[in-house]
Symmetry: C2
Subunit: 206 residues, 2 copies
């Protein structure tokens, strides 16, 4: 595999995969084209061809892409030929919603461990998963060699939680706390903050 592919290209691959899976679900044909994908995604077909060309030759002039084949290839590239077990920290209303979200399992992830600091929650279950004390974070992550975690705690404790996750071996963190987290190189952090998303749109509203 080629190295040094821009992060922005990597970020589009899951979008392509998601749309290809929608084409699979629609089920009416076996192939698609960069043109069709581009139309459906609001991305130029040239961009899609260029992005995919970093990883090989997936399409043929005239026939386009075989949907199932491209799905398989993208899953391999993104390391989704396995299910990633995920640790979730924070079972407030957002954490609870995430624990119940059925979109993870179909797309390569499964929340299998859940942690909270609130003694009234510890020992209860959320969507069939036992809520553990945050005290057990390090031992659990080490024992199960967990690589992926989601932070759904208040902002005030998110950096501390991130530090503990990283020290225990976590390599990828999706954080819903509204702040930038500091993590060593080699650890990947993504963010979801509805307010920054809304604010980048209100710029364009008069």
């Amino acid at each position: 595999m080629v190295t040094q592919i821009p992060d922005i290209v990597i970020g589009r691959l899951p979008i392509y995969l998601r749309e290809l899976r929608r084409l699979q679900d629609e089920g009416d044909r076996l192939t698609t084209s960069s043109h069709e994908l581009g139309e459906r995604l609001g991305i130029s077909s040239a961009q899609i061809r260029k992005d995919l060309s970093h990883f090989g030759e997936f399409g043929k002039q005239g026939t386009g892409y075989h949907i199932n084949y491209l799905v398989d290839q993208l899953c391999q590239i993104l390391h989704l030929d396995q299910t990633w077990p995920v640790a979730l920290v924070g079972v407030g209303s957002l954490g609870t919603a995430l624990a119940h979200y059925d979109g993870f399992k179909l797309r390569g992830f499964e929340i299998r461990w859940v942690f909270d600091i609130d003694p009234t929650k510890i020992g209860a279950e959320v969507n069939g998963v036992h809520i553990q004390a945050v005290d057990e974070l390090e031992a659990t992550i080490a024992q199960h060699e967990i690589a992926v975690a989601i932070i759904a705690t208040p902002a005030s404790v998110a950096q501390d939680v991130a530090d503990r996750l990283v020290a225990a071996g976590i390599k990828a963190i999706l954080s819903y706390a509204p702040l930038h987290l500091t993590a060593p190189s080699g650890v990947h952090v993504s963010y979801s903050d509805p307010v920054t998303e809304l604010q980048r749109m209100t710029y364009y509203l008069g």
Copy 2:
């Protein structure tokens, strides 16, 4: 104001604003620098200076940025010198979590109307807001001239909801449904999909 500023620059302004507000909350000083902001955000100081220079001269060599002044300026640029009332469609577990999220009000947004299609939910309240039938979407948006909406419905109905929102006058949509939405130019759409965020990180995991 200069036009044609790249969208990626606009997308960083809310991140700067969020960090400046954290500095305000820490409360120990009046000024900061592009260097300090960059360190805290993992962005180069040159990038920050370049981004801000699109909008004017906010800092001085040697003294840096006055935090309160820069916050005010960014709020003006992002049109956050007002609170944006928001309509939320879909009161499943994620929609409920969003309706309860207290991070909106402090940062320029307020979920003031909530819609669902489920007759058992309609008429109930979520965080003090009356849940209306989706049938009332168009009339409510028109009457209150609502510009901003959040979609937290299943993917299967999200495009239909988006079409109705846009037809009724909505100009900015934040969608939690895992699919690309088609909208006319002049309507801004942002997305939050935890799975695409996780997948872009697993690319880097062996």
